[in-house]
Symmetry: D2
Subunit: 382 residues, 4 copies
């Protein structure tokens, strides 16, 4: 088979595979503004194919349902009006079955289109579409965990997403001062925010070869880390107090012992495993407590060949800002990245929830500093 | 069959019948804090039987699931902790199927219990349980309409709930000043808030024999009723402006014409039908516009034999307050009515969504003055 | 002197006398949305004279400052746009001195007008103006206390406003069932909400001859009254928990003992004095705790000749609703009372902060059920 | 005189000079959470001297008033509890007179202390104290303008703060790629966030020799800049719509023409003068509209010798983050800068409101991206 068709079909099937253990009741709920219902994800990534490939490029394509653009556009102002984000969880219609029909309709149409020898411009957007669907696959895992983790009954989902990094003997990797290059090079796909490859100057630094463990983080809690304002950003301290934060997300204290909910159920916290689901505020406070700091994204990228990464995203102390020469694409796809470059922090690496083939060391993930439902951990620098 | 068992079974089946046209996706969503998911209603009314009949009275009853008391208690502080109201829509588990199994389990257990010749105290609570389930049946209709009415696609549900009062030739019924009695008398079931029957003094009054029509209400809109503060309570005027209210709930203006969504779909507003889904603020403002007023609940009750009622609840200008001698039941059932006797207004009558056998002229329904998802209309007095 | 001029001047001077111990800094601050700066009161009641007497009736009257109508209108939509209530505390200009000049200008103009033999219509509004200024005098005392009570330093203001009712030997006054009349009669001034005198029917009742004391209320606190939801309205219970309410307003617990701030400074709570500054929610909860209830406004009015009243307003369990036949005045003065007749509760009596000659037993004061900065106490009924 | 004493006295007097045209009524008001009352500033900067110099270093110093630490601490958690920021405007006591006495008491005690040959550690904190007071002098100007600018009467304050940069003929200054050094060097005072001097790598860039003018900005408005989401960050677009932003702060449209309030009163917008009081969101959007960008703080610092600066702060596109090797001071002064290094953007330069001797090209000012009451403008880069 045409390799692009094969990749396309693998990706499409994987989105559905992620959801296959859900009950029908789990598909439509939106437990927080930042999370989306699985049904919405499945439909939205399908709409993306329809809106950016089929409608503009595929001759004679017939839109599946005229309402779906309004229902399943996420944030592309250029692509028209849409259901507001906080209301995604109110959409009980279309049904899951109808969304699955929509998926099949669009998948078949894209395959037909790919067989028709599309031109280079279209193929570039196909590549974006594949990567876009992979991004939503990771969000699907976050949101499924958040939906199930908010059930008072802590249901077991069962999957491979909770695999842990094997923890190394702790060592410090030295980085030497000097001029380096970061950013994406070569012809493989990358997002616009990774371009262009450019020089930066780094000072001497050291970066840990492993992630902070639950055991180390438990010491921070036991030492009153959540009660000592000296470790926290001013906004972090407000966040802690306004939300009554006392531990990472999904942690529950039961008769003095700490338990953690994950997709395999509620279990005692494993002190050897890396801590996960902490906000940037918490990662920063933990580093302060240790008298260290978080790495910058450039330090991380430069030294990433020298440590294991990829089971958990890692907060950096770099704000999400444009690289020199950044320019956004024309039209709706120009809204993909650039308009988020304020008030967010960069995460580097990848996680066990990242789809195969989607990770690279120049990848710039980003979240607001209070977000922690994503799969992430803490790596220290000094 | 034992008549109480027969009534019990009729009521239980009716709850499920109300939901039978729902998609599975519609059962779990909570589109507003004041509304609840249909699944929650079905489970909560079942929990009520379990908590107030089976657990205290039925020997050897085995609780279906220990978690359900936490999940499906509504507001009975005396019955333990519970899922907070705004979070009812996050509960994807238990599934609808499991809730239906719960219903069957409890229905069978109550039937077995009723066959065991229960004593009078238990039978009184059975009566409350039946009426409680009927109240939730009406709320189920409101919430189903609200869930579907918030779908951008306005799905058709189809049912008999949108039947309209046949509009009479308008006439004014005169009430003469003097001492009257209101409140429930006799041995039939009533809620504690209808007791006891007591004297009141009424001045001369007149009350309309029919409800305000859509056509009449359209004139209010056309005359700038929503823009003229003189018709409104100070809080009503804030409510109009903060929420951008321009018409009754479910009304939509399409190219200059007013349409209304109901369970039969989106249709043009029928000027002959009574206006429905207006808040107390709107009902009051409309009466001011007409130079009239809303009736008091006593005026309504005294004159209710002289006009048709029962297809729509009717706002009165009476605050929901205790009757003389009101006393609440001991324990959790004491929380049924009394604790809501502040900041709410009384509605009288019944609606097409009221379950058979549940209406009576002494019935005191009540909602906050901004609520309008219930089936209600406007009757004028002067 | 013309008696109406004399009364007018006494009232004008009294407003300034209330403020005379304030520092200039105290005049402009607004510590809560429901309170207003003293400077605003002094200017607003002056604007009222200007807008409703001088401008419509006094020939050749020259408006003091064209901006002041915008600055000092309170809530009369019919009288034009105005500074929004939450922003009253931002008005540092005009200065206190300028407001005092405004007062003098308007006082002199009204005196001149009163000497010109005004007609009956104008004299009626003069009477409203006098009563309006007296109402604001009482609010001035509340707001001054609230401003000073929110200073961490608890400054002493010193005045006669904290005099206490002499507490009688407790007795129950019996009221017999039957038809009574309530509401204002005769030719003396009253507000539109007290008209017209009308018949009501009362059941047998008993009402206490004295107010609940601090000592009795301390027992409620000690018995866990603020922790037991059974005593509270559902909304009262939310109010207690959302605001962390543990005692009446101005009470402070210092090393286990209860102190109360009043205009004479911070002192130990006197168990013999009547409890004051409690919300309707607290008054209701206290009555529930005692197995009693609050009186209705009709019960209060009928029996008010048989007990002492007048040092503290008293919550009733009557919602603030129109009397039969209530009609509001045309124009802006029609906004005086009617538009507040929803979601508020009636208080009867008067307080030590009520201006001389302003109290009468038919007076209907009203506040939202969570308000407690007014001078009020609790009288029980059963 | 001892030069440090002389500098100290000059700075102390300047704080009072800034306020000298205020009415007493203007001193205590807090028109927004981010602004503070002038009285509070005057007392807080005095408390800073007392808490960090007099109490720890000056033998026999007697605290002026024990309550003032609670009242006038700003955000130093290490220095004890304090009045919460939103409540600063409620403090009518102490009076302005008492605060002035407090100032004199502390000024005299610091002079006496400075005469006593203090050691180097104390002198370092004296230097911080001087710079701290200068920072509040600038904030005083911002807050005075905001207080007066919120008066519906637009009072004239009159001062030299509204002087404008003389606008040059527009030119682009070229910066060449390569390794540069930024950050503070030498022994003069600087804040901890400017240390230490370090290498960075810059790409080729161009930076404008002048600020964007009102005339240029008016074109952006006229071209629909506030209505076109393509120019805005996602959060900026929300900010525009939630706050109804249509122009810079203090701009008012009167019958089609744009006016601007400044300390000299309300005047027509001068198209030649630089635009001021725009948020980072607006500065960014304007740059997007022009197809350009804002400079980074490193670009600004490197090229600042080649253009005029100093009458308005300038937004950069750099997030406020620690320089390599940043470490915060021990104790309360460690809270000065570091805990704000998240979610804020760097501004470079100085303004006409900056105190003499306080400006330097390594200075890192910072504000949240929605703030615009500070004196700032826009410089473009590409």
């Amino acid at each position: 088979m045409n390799p692009i068709i094969e990749r396309f079909l693998v990706v499409r099937k994987h989105s559905e595979a992620i959801c296959k253990r859900l009950l029908l009741e789990d598909y439509s709920v939106q437990p927080a503004v930042f999370a989306s219902p699985p049904k919405w994800h499945l439909a939205h990534i399908t709409w993306f194919w329809e809106a950016f490939i089929l409608v503009p490029f595929a001759k004679d394509y017939k839109i599946f349902d005229d309402d779906f653009s309004f229902l399943f556009n996420s944030y592309y102002n250029n692509a028209g009006k849409r259901v507001l984000r906080p209301n995604r969880g109110l959409m009980t219609r279309p049904s899951v079955e109808e969304v699955m029909n929509y998926r099949q309709h669009v998948t078949e149409a894209v395959v037909a289109f790919l067989k028709s020898s599309p031109d280079g411009e279209a193929l570039e957007i196909v590549e974006i579409g594949i990567n876009h669907e992979q991004q939503h696959q990771e969000l699907l895992v976050y949101d499924i965990k958040y939906i199930l983790g908010n059930q008072p009954t802590y249901p077991v989902y069962g999957s491979g997403y909770e695999t842990q990094a094997e923890q190394q003997h702790p060592e410090w990797i030295k980085g030497k001062s000097g001029v380096y290059e970061i950013g994406h090079a070569g012809k493989d796909f990358c997002f616009d925010n990774e371009l262009g490859r450019h020089k930066i100057y780094l000072q001497d630094f050291e970066i840990s070869n492993r992630l902070v463990t639950n055991g180390e983080y438990l010491a921070f809690i036991a030492d009153g880390g959540y009660q000592n304002f000296n470790y926290w950003h001013d906004e972090g301290w407000q966040w802690v107090n306004q939300n009554g934060i006392k531990a990472p997300l999904y942690w529950h204290q039961v008769e003095g012992d700490w338990y953690v909910y994950d997709l395999d159920g509620l279990e005692k916290v494993d002190p050897e495993a890396p801590v996960k689901h902490v906000s940037f505020f918490e990662a920063f406070a933990y580093a302060e407590y240790r008298g260290m700091r978080l790495p910058t994204e450039a330090e991380w990228e430069i030294s990433s060949d020298h440590f294991q990464w990829g089971t958990l995203w890692e907060w950096t102390n770099s704000a999400y800002l444009p690289y020199p020469g950044f320019s956004k694409a024309p039209g709706a796809l120009g809204e993909y990245n650039g308009k988020f470059m304020v008030n967010q922090m960069v995460l580097r690496g990848a996680s066990a929830a990242t789809s195969e083939g989607h990770a690279r060391k120049t990848y710039r993930n980003f979240f607001h500093p209070d977000m922690r439902w994503q799969y992430n951990g803490i790596r220290l620098a000094k």
